[in-house]
């Protein structure tokens, strides 16, 4: 059986499982849907939260970013710490109090605590901006996954994926969602860890990838991380374990992801509906246990994938130095069935190889920037010559090509890899011309030549991760629009039916926007998602925290804080990523040299959060304190006693 059929069968079986569970555990009423967490064991609830939380960004994107980061894998630990450490903040600072408050949505809390329809409306706007940004990241992940396992281009994969998300969330997503998510968690964690265990055993002999990462590389007898650093630095890349080039940025990025986690509406919502306040505390712990199963494996997956990829391209690196032997040959790629993944991945457009110097081999190395620039100039000059009309000054164009060729040759003579110049080696550039972060996890079992069913399982896991989160987010968006926006402010008398219709229209619209923007995403899946976290960090988290821990913050302060956080963070991101993420509308190039104090748009949420707190305290200090009954409300959410079950409006 070929891989394609196997993928379809395994993904098909998991789909049948989800649909079966959805039918079996169908919620009869909307209340049952909202209170899905009640009556569900905290451990199962933790699993469901894990599936809801771990999206395409965690599953397919994160380990790839860690593996291929130009500055080294260590700096990307921000994702690992940030996306887990946020649960500590949730458990300590938000979850128990929001559970005691006992309503269903984040804007409801903000509206009541700050006694203002305006604050509630602003919270809805923040929630929509955050969730839509997050869904764009998911769509990118969905596109990558479907393109690979259906063997089509990423764009086609995105359309197919969007259609499935649409059917899944709009038509049937509201029923039995918790148990379906439990099943999705099981599928995704098995799919993630099994290949990791296989690869860890192959490379280090350690069963647990967490131990393999700090274990010994069997083939060479050197410690695994030492081996990896040695192989990649030999080829001119930065070491995997090297320090972050910008510690401030790494610090702020980690902080932004942590407080963003604690401010994500679709995560917070899960703690509103657990049976008791004390359950809200432990639920966060259980959720983190299940999330940690993936997150502690992720760096091992990334690091091991990087080593496997490099030794595939440079077979001599397995035992000794990469450059002791020749690079992989084109003949080998086309004849060895274990390398067929190279050609299949090229079809998706996420991997590109090109024998630039025509020696029949593919040399993979870190191309020095000077060589890249010289190659680009040469290509431009050659293109200008080719495009020249009959009456153009050919002599001048030929001279330009000659000059560019000379400059390129000089650059090649100057640049060295392993102490020998590129000119001497006969190399003209890195022949792995495209290597997308987002393909690493999916390609990982193929690179390691694992059995076909493992590869199919990974495809199923990636689909589960993307679908469960996309559905959760779309539900959060639609409930914000129908429940908080339309029923809460515009038309309180709307019928149940009308509310449901509005929810579906909102969801459809959100999918269309996300699909359009997902075609030209402002970054890799995990990076797009990180932008959503920055926005959550700068808006929702500070408002919730101040609402609980301060009795003095009033309506004016909270609104000012959220506005400052949203506008500052949003504008900073849009300056570099394009207005509302529309490609080509960015006003500054998205490169570190342009960043304010080197702070990237991914990290700016921390600064936005600080400004939010500052604005809120300042404005509250200048305006009247909140009314007595609001201060009583704050008193009452601080003690667990008297928490009834959650109620709607």
């Amino acid at each position: 059986m070929d891989q394609f059929t196997l993928n379809l069968i395994v993904v098909g079986i998991t789909f049948a499982l989800y649909i079966g569970i959805a039918i079996w555990a169908r919620a009869g009423t909307t209340a049952e849907f909202y209170a899905a967490g009640q009556g569900v064991h905290p451990v199962l609830n933790g699993m469901a939260t894990g599936a809801d939380w771990m999206s395409a960004a965690s599953f397919i994107s994160m380990a790839g970013i860690i593996a291929l980061a130009p500055a080294g894998g260590y700096e990307q630990s921000a994702y690992l710490m940030g996306w887990t450490g946020g649960y500590v903040l949730l458990a300590l600072l938000l979850a128990p109090y929001l559970r005691k408050f006992g309503k269903f949505t984040v804007p409801e809390f903000i509206g009541d605590r700050f006694y203002s329809g305006g604050a509630r409306l602003l919270a809805v706007i923040c929630l929509i901006v955050i969730s839509v940004t997050y869904v764009i990241g998911q769509m990118r992940g969905v596109g990558v996954t479907f393109s690979r396992f259906l063997e089509v281009s990423t764009d086609t994969g995105l359309y197919i994926g969007a259609a499935i998300v649409f059917a899944y969330a709009v038509l049937g997503g509201m029923k039995g969602i918790t148990y379906t998510q439990v099943a999705q968690y099981v599928v995704l964690i098995i799919a993630y860890t099994i290949p990791a265990i296989f690869i860890s055993l192959q490379l280090t002999g350690a069963f647990l990838p967490q131990l393999g990462l700090i274990g010994t590389h069997t083939a060479s007898g050197v410690e695994f991380l030492t081996k990896l650093d040695q192989v990649v630095t030999e080829l001119g890349f930065r070491a995997y374990t090297s320090d972050s080039p910008n510690m401030l940025n790494m610090f702020l990025f980690t902080m932004s992801l942590m407080i963003g986690t604690a401010g994500l509406p679709h995560v917070i919502i899960r703690f509103f509906t657990v049976p008791k306040v004390s359950d809200a505390r432990t639920s966060a712990g259980w959720a983190l246990v299940f999330i940690a199963l993936l997150y502690t494996v992720a760096p091992a997956v990334g690091a091991m994938a990087r080593l496997n990829l490099t030794t595939t391209m440079w077979p001599a690196a397995e035992q000794g130095n990469a450059l002791d032997g020749p690079a992989i040959t084109l003949a080998e790629i086309d004849s060895n069935p274990e390398l067929s993944w190279i050609r299949t991945w090229e079809k998706t457009g996420l991997l590109g190889m090109s024998d630039l110097n025509g020696d029949g081999q593919i040399q993979y190395f870190a191309e020095p920037p000077a060589v890249t620039a010289a190659n680009k100039a040469l290509a431009a000059a050659t293109a200008a010559l080719a495009a020249a009309g009959p009456d153009a000054d050919r002599a001048a164009l030929l001279a330009e090509v000659a000059a560019a060729t000379a400059a390129r040759d000089a650059a090649l003579a100057e640049a060295t890899i392993g102490g020998v110049s590129l000119a001497e080696r006969g190399w003209v550039g890195n022949e792995v011309t495209r290597l997308d972060n987002d393909m690493m996890v999916l390609a990982n079992p193929e690179i390691a030549a694992l059995p076909g069913w493992v590869i199919a399982l990974v495809a199923a896991g990636a689909v589960a991760a993307a679908l469960s989160t996309a559905a959760g987010l779309l539900l959060a968006i639609s409930s914000a629009i129908s429940h908080d926006l339309i029923k809460g402010s515009i038309n309180p008398n709307i019928s149940e039916k009308g509310e449901l219709l509005a929810a579906r229209i909102a969801m459809t619209f959100a999918i269309l926007v996300a699909t359009y923007l997902g075609l030209n995403p402002p970054g890799f899946a995990a990076q797009v998602v990180a932008l959503a976290f920055g926005l959550a960090a700068a808006t929702i988290f500070p408002a919730l925290m101040m609402g609980i821990f301060s009795k003095r913050i009033n309506k004016e302060g909270a609104i000012a804080g959220m506005l400052v956080g949203l506008i500052f963070t949003g504008v900073y991101i849009f300056l570099y990523k394009g207005w509302f993420f529309i490609p080509g509308t960015n006003m500054l190039a998205d490169i570190p040299a342009n960043y304010l104090f080197g702070i990237s748009p991914l990290s700016i949420g921390s600064v936005g959060a600080v400004l939010n707190f500052a604005a809120a305290f300042l404005v509250s200090g200048m305006t009247r304190e909140p009314p007595h009954e609001v201060q009583e409300l704050v008193e009452s959410i601080r003690v667990p006693r008297g928490a009834g079950s959650a109620t709607g409006h």
Binding site: L80, F224, T241, D243, L288, V289, V639, P640
Partner: protein, 85 residues
């Protein structure tokens, strides 16, 4: 709810617990994992150093323990101050 002073004592004890927990939270991630990494480079952990390990694995283990310890401690505080559900 119990009387005002007891509620205040409960809240003060809660804030103390949160404060201590947040110090641990900060130390194991931002501290050991980022800021102190250069200073602790001498301590080796399997092919890398202690700071690297905390950044990629160690901090996550600490987070889990931290949440459960906090939950256990708070449940006891709830009982002590008579504010449990």
């Amino acid at each position: 709810m119990a009387d005002k002073s007891s509620a205040n004592a409960y809240w003060a004890a809660n804030l103390r617990t949160i404060g201590i927990s947040l110090v641990v939270w900060f130390l194991c991630s931002f501290g050991l994992g980022i800021i102190l990494r250069p200073a602790l480079r001498g301590i080796h952990v399997g092919g890398a150093d202690l700071g690297f390990w905390f950044a990629q694995n160690g901090s996550i283990y600490v987070f889990i323990v931290l949440i459960f310890v906090y939950a256990w401690r708070m449940n006891r505080l709830d009982l002590e101050h008579g504010v449990e559900e």
